[in-house]
Symmetry: C2
Amino acid sequence: MKGVQFSGVASGIKASGLDLALVYFEEPTDVAALYTRNKVKAAHILYNRKRVKGAVRALLVNAGCANACTGLEGVRDLGEIAEGLSSELGIKNDEILFASTGVIGKRLPVGKIIATLPLLRKSLREKNIEPFARAIMTTDTYPKIVQATVPGKAGGSIAGVAKGAGMMNPLFATMLSFLFTDCSVQNEQLTKLMPALGRDSFERITVDGDTSTNDTVMVFSRKRGDAVCDMAVFKEKLLNLMKDLAFLIVRDGEGATKVIHITVTGARKKEVAEKLARRISVSPLVKTAFFGCDPNWGRIIAAAGDAGVPIRPEKVEIVMQGERLALEGVEVPFSEEKLKRLMDKKEVDLVVDLHDGKAAYDLYTTDLTFDYVKINASYRS
Amino acid sequence: MKGVQFSGVASGIKASGLDLALVYFEEPTDVAALYTRNKVKAAHILYNRKRVKGAVRALLVNAGCANACTGLEGVRDLGEIAEGLSSELGIKNDEILFASTGVIGKRLPVGKIIATLPLLRKSLREKNIEPFARAIMTTDTYPKIVQATVPGKAGGSIAGVAKGAGMMNPLFATMLSFLFTDCSVQNEQLTKLMPALGRDSFERITVDGDTSTNDTVMVFSRKRGDAVCDMAVFKEKLLNLMKDLAFLIVRDGEGATKVIHITVTGARKKEVAEKLARRISVSPLVKTAFFGCDPNWGRIIAAAGDAGVPIRPEKVEIVMQGERLALEGVEVPFSEEKLKRLMDKKEVDLVVDLHDGKAAYDLYTTDLTFDYVKINASYRS
């Protein structure tokens, strides 16, 4: 994107590979952000929130170290890095934002990072969005980049990158996502929109139900004067890109063999549908059954009964990949063999209809596999 | 126990092995029970609750089929079996209780069960508590039996059995536990005590956080006239046996290599401590780290931060097997090698001290292993 330069290099935070990423904005750029709801928040979130509000010129992201649970020292480390980066780029300290991902409880290697800043600056290019996307990965299996154009008087564009800690622990440590646009959108308007955009994209995915200390979504808008975009169209395009990034993250979920699209419908309230969908999506018994391609609807309805919201089991209908497994709370005859084949796919569709109202909620999750255990039992060691 | 006869036989509900168990009380016997809080309840719970209150003479338990989500038919099936059993034993229909465990959504094979009742009756013996305990197992790896004597004027005794669906899905489908005593205790008093006894025993264990549709705890008291026990002593003995059974269940948790004793202390309220302990105990990231003997305290504090209750991360202390990992929310130096050795045990102790008050809560859970996935991805098939 014109006026937005990216770079991604290796600084030695990780044992090998790219781990330090920079975005440099040639002009002051507005930013709207969402951060984790976890009560334990990473240093970069505490730091960014303390920053004087206003336009920014740079975003520095590191992988390999979450800089979470590092106390005041963790925040001061970022202040020290900001000193170095501002003088390297010739910008002000408070025009810099940070984001981190990786192991919780370890301090950043400040010396290594500061020593790498000149290389990081020299590598800045408008076209370098891919090295940037690669340098924020932990063990994601692919970089996650999306782009869209927004029609308008002159038209604008949006680009986005994300990392899901794919093979590690998405939504936990850490989901990061950055989007960039040159559309002339009002930042206050965008800031107000952010919670709703997040709710309908990143909050619709879950891998292990563990909320990160580092989760961060930022939208940078650099306002190319001539790119005047219709706000409604811009919003729709932005939301779609966020959904695309969220799907890329869940598809790359730790050890996952499939993505499961869970829809709870026929609820009296959306909140009820959401609670049920979330409860089903984190049940290890449901998730292992999906891994085994087992149409074990009993585990699904039992998880629903355990969601802490009232349901009427005798009304529940369960449909897997278009095939009905249960109606009015009891099993209907189905071919186990056929269902096993239907479930042996990269994407599996599950609908739980409560037949009790008109509200619905849907989200995406993964199956629970041997590789999930392998990855997470050996992380750090 | 005198006057209480047990039997356990194979009826063909499961492909092989014991699957049908009977307790016959020579005299009318009082019963106090706890059932699952899952909104979806198995047929035996619906049936038992409809029964006219009063003393009972028999309990029939089957493994291999949960008889849950089977609608009115599932309850009627039990009525039909009660007809057969009452005539076989020469007792009344409403003196019979039922309990089931196994796969959800399938009907009981009523014909097979009724055909097996004569054999079941002929096998009744006071000493047959072990075949009984074996016949209620699904894939538990050992029968779970406990006994205690209660001092008093003449003294009495308590015996208990449980099944945890050890290798399958404890607390889900299904935890069953039955206790028997000849102490002359008032049933109303016992019934009132039951919720508290359950809270401090079976509710202190979790394997996968999934609550069963079938969970059942029953205490039968046959009141030998001369066994007059002190109620306070009786209560303590009973609670200890319930705790023992609960521990036997969690130790046999699906695929588990270790039991983790989680204590959250220094909380302002017990409810806060409980929420944190439960949240930590179901985190797949925490559980896989325990499997890998990884002292990954960052995952523990992140789960705590995500429990939906206020915590002050900057005060949190984390102690594993007596070794401090974190103080005031940040890491303290520790030897990873030493911790790995300390965690490579059958029982591991974790203390999370909030340093924010005086309330505490503790529970037992298991690690999340390859075998857990193997067992649950292939259940039913």
